[in-house]
């Protein structure tokens, strides 16, 4: 088969590469058509084409590594680290420029709102007048900005108030999932000197991890939970056949909260804060037993 005048290479190796390119969708329409014609005319090329297709299909359907939650948390931690630095930087900056900004903003916004009100009936009666150029777009922009500021303030307030519930739910579902997973822990160790550095290396935080084996609560390991989009350390203790997940969210300088009962849905949950960490302990144990654990942990962690 020589002497084709279709723009494709005529040497056997060249046409082979063209078949690979056809299978990979790298040929333009004209070249693809020419390649398909060659394949149709030559059984040997057709066999090669079928082979490449079969191979591509086989390789493409190989099992792919899955992105585990723990790994995703490690990667998310990389992104979070950068954003947090910025939050510290921004916390000081806007306050310096702030006092001068609001009066102007508010005045403009007021003007903008009035103008919008004035424009509306006019716009409704003659929508095709086309005098949109008379809009004071600066005032409009300012009024939009100020409502955005008000709205985001409100959102923050709502989120702050709903936050505790959201975290409790996330802790509860993390614990439930861990009971269903092949392993409830990412790092299995009864040695706090292993668990603490492991957590520290992954997310840069390591809560107190006293071993309470003598009290009947053995430290069995730790894992990383993702709560409200942030990786937080979780310790796992065992009491007879029950597992206890203890999530410890760093909250430096937060007010101290005495243990509070958040139990629901068949799980006992206790929440408290010691000023450095905010803790959630959850287990399927009875409440008095979990209280016993919390009391011993608080005593040992100090």
């Amino acid at each position: 088969m020589t002497g084709h005048d279709d723009g494709l290479p005529n040497d056997p190796e060249g046409i082979r590469l063209m078949i690979h390119a056809l299978v990979d969708g790298e040929l333009d329409a004209a070249a693809a058509l020419a390649a398909e014609r060659r394949i149709a005319a030559d059984p040997r090329l057709a066999a090669e084409h079928a082979r490449i297709l079969a191979l591509r299909g086989a390789v493409g359907s190989l099992p792919r590594p899955d992105v585990s939650d723990a790994f995703l948390a490690r990667i998310a931690a990389i992104g979070v680290a950068g954003a947090e630095q910025q939050e510290h930087a921004e916390a000081t900056e806007p306050q310096m420029g702030a006092p001068s900004a609001p009066p102007g903003l508010i005045a403009d916004a007021g003007r903008g709102l009035r103008r919008t009100a004035e424009m509306r009936p006019w716009a409704r009666t003659s929508p095709r007048t086309g005098r949109f150029g008379s809009f004071d777009w600066r005032a409009m922009a300012a009024s939009i900005m100020i409502s955005a500021v008000l709205a985001s303030g409100a959102t923050q307030w709502v989120m702050f108030n709903g936050a505790e519930d959201g975290v409790a739910d996330a802790v509860a579902s993390g614990h439930r999932r861990s009971l269903l997973a092949a392993s409830a822990i990412d790092i299995a160790s009864s040695d706090r000197h292993t668990v603490k550095p492991w957590l520290d290396a992954r997310i840069g935080v390591s809560p107190p991890a006293p071993d309470l084996a003598q009290d009947g609560f053995a430290l069995v390991g730790g894992r990383v939970e993702v709560i409200s989009g942030r990786p937080v350390p979780a310790l796992v203790y065992r009491h007879r056949e029950h597992l206890i997940t203890l999530v410890a969210e760093p909250r430096q300088g937060a007010k101290i909260i005495q243990p509070d009962n958040l139990s629901s849905g068949g799980f006992s949950m206790v929440h408290w804060s010691d000023g450095a960490f905010s803790y959630w302990a959850i287990s399927d144990m009875e409440r008095p037993e979990l209280d016993d654990f919390v009391a011993r942990f608080r005593k040992a962690a100090v």
Binding site: R16, L17, D24, R51, F71, I75, G82, A83
Partner: protein, 179 residues
Amino acid sequence: MSERALAERFNQVVVPHLADALALARWLTGNAADAEDVVQDACVKAHAGISGYAGGNARAWLLTIVRNTSYTWMARNRPRAVMAVGDLGDLDDMAAAHGTSRPDEDGPEAGLIARADTAALQAAIAALPRPFRETLVLRDINGLGYRDIAAMLDVPMGTVMSRLARARGLLASELGRAP
């Protein structure tokens, strides 16, 4: 660009392609556990260099970093494995020569390839010389186009094509030989 915008961009550019990053690192390093370490290193580099990402194919951008990180990691942790392959130029010559020297030899039947079991296919891919293996993985597992692969490996497109054809040819004959 603010740090917050950079963090946002990291979430958009890097995080969606973690599975691809793990797959590439797994085939370059040879196992899944090492792949996680390599991808984590690569993500730290990606985060540091995110402001240098100028749009375009985010997957190709991340995979370029993953590939470079894999080889740095291999050189540090498994110097022998990296040195096992000969000069790349030789391999490409070999691929070209090999291709033209046996133009008439028929490969195995397509059905045989399609029925090959997963373990045999994985072993065959792992046995490919590195330049062929990475080209095949970037194309058939990561789904990159020839142009992106050529840019990533810094070779002409014709080289990508001949490496890919060679990689597939080796896999096909390996799978065809299996009982």
